[in-house]
Amino acid sequence: MLIEEKFSIHAPIKKVWDFLLDAQSLASCVPGCEGVKVLDEDTYLTSIKTKVGPISAHFKIKLSITEKEPLKRILTTGRGEDSFMASSILAKNEITLNSLSESETEVYYRSDVSILGTLGKFGEGIIRKKAKELGEQFVLALKSKIEKG
């Protein structure tokens, strides 16, 4: 299940890049995210609570940065599970930046999410819709944090 979003932020590319690397601030943009624990420079532990209708899932996720090209691209893989509901989530995310101008950066983010187990069975179309909404909320939070901060 592919989720893609392209948007621009009124901020220089350096500022956006630094924000992306700062785990705590990035986590604050992810809806339902309950804090981040930094294991090492490239790996973080976080947990995300989401709700699809009557069903609430609580994923404990290990996020690892797999590739970094400063000021250009960052690749991460998130792997986690909600043992309560025997479901697991696997997300391969890619964020690429390109600076439109001194004060304008274009961000393209793409993530390939697959959810296994019972939640996955619930209805792929619905989860795609929910994931898209989460994506949009993430973008809004990211924009406002960076532009204000």
């Binding site: 209708g53 009557p54 069903i55 509901m85 019972t118 209805g123 179309g125 619905i126 795609r128």
Partner: protein, 288 residues
């Protein structure tokens, strides 16, 4: 399935009170949808409140002023076979006959079908076309809402934690009225890819005096084609007006892509089916 407490309340008040006390409690009516969710570990209720022990929730009464009053525990089978429904709103009986299969129709209830919140469920489009209202009971009081306002998102309704759907009210309709529920499904009576319910009423001069169009399976919730009235009421029912309403239905549709069909296909089909449903409804109205 994992263990849960099982309660047989004697009245709605007790049921609502239990919902208030236990946040993870769920209402058990027919169980056709709920038990599947539990078995799949999608929800783990702490309590099941079996409202089938509450008397009076499966009644079906006609009142010339207020219209048809349907208890939420009427099973799909009861709705399909009820002479009152066949007389006053046959479109509901038609919708009931297209739900799943006889065993499910002998278990599932109209209340459960509505409260489950499945966007492609078969009753909501027909209820929307009928302009139905829902009575929601809770210990904090009762409220009545139009059926199209009842749905919030996928499997999410406006029911508060302690509210229970206690009655479905279908206001009286003009005498010369025709309706149909068209369901596009993969195999017979499987989940609707697109569902359209349409009702058209005509007065003696042949002008449209009632129109109701409900859509299923094309958005996170069932939809009402709100300005169908503007387009048709008071006018002669013509082909181009019907196409305008169908265009309107296509406009408000916001479907998903899933294993059954893509969003593009659903968007195209909601136009085709709305046009067909309105035409068929109109020809039925003329026959009365």
């Amino acid at each position: 399935m994992k263990y849960f407490e099982y309660i047989e309340p004697k009245d709605l008040a007790e049921a609502s009170q239990i919902l208030n006390e236990y946040p993870e409690a769920k209402i058990l009516a027919g169980g056709a949808s709920l038990v599947v969710l539990i078995k799949n570990n999608l929800i783990q209720p702490s309590h099941l409140v079996n409202i089938k022990t509450i008397p009076g929730l499966d009644q079906l009464r006609w009142d010339s002023k207020e219209g048809l009053k349907i208890g939420p525990l009427n099973r799909h089978r009861d709705i399909f076979e009820s002479p009152l429904i066949r007389q006053h709103c046959p479109i509901l009986s038609e919708a009931a006959s297209k739900i799943s299969s006889p065993p499910i129709r002998n278990m599932g209830t109209i209340g459960g079908n509505i409260c489950h919140g499945e966007p492609a469920a078969d009753f909501p489009p027909a209820l929307i076309a009928l302009g139905a209202k829902l009575r929601l009971f809770s210990t904090k009081g009762e409220r009545i809402v139009a059926v199209e306002e009842f749905f919030v998102d996928f499997y999410e309704t406006i029911l508060s934690k302690t509210e229970i759907l206690s009655e479905i009210i279908i206001p009286p309709l003009p005498s010369r009225i025709g309706g149909t529920y068209i369901k596009l499904d993969k195999t017979n009576n499987s989940i609707a890819i697109v569902g359209v319910a349409a009702l058209i009423g005509v007065d003696e001069k042949g002008n449209c005096n009632y129109v109701g169009v409900g859509l299923g399976g094309v958005a996170p919730t069932p939809l009402k084609v709100k300005n169908a009235g503007e387009i048709l009421l008071g006018k002669k029912v013509e082909e181009d007006l019907i196409e305008k309403v169908a265009k309107e239905a296509q406009l408000i549709a916001n479907p998903i892509t899933n294993i059954y069909a893509s969003d593009r296909y659903r968007k195209e089909m909601v136009y085709v089916l709305t046009k067909r449903a309105l035409k068929e409804a109109f020809s039925k109205a003329l026959m009365i």
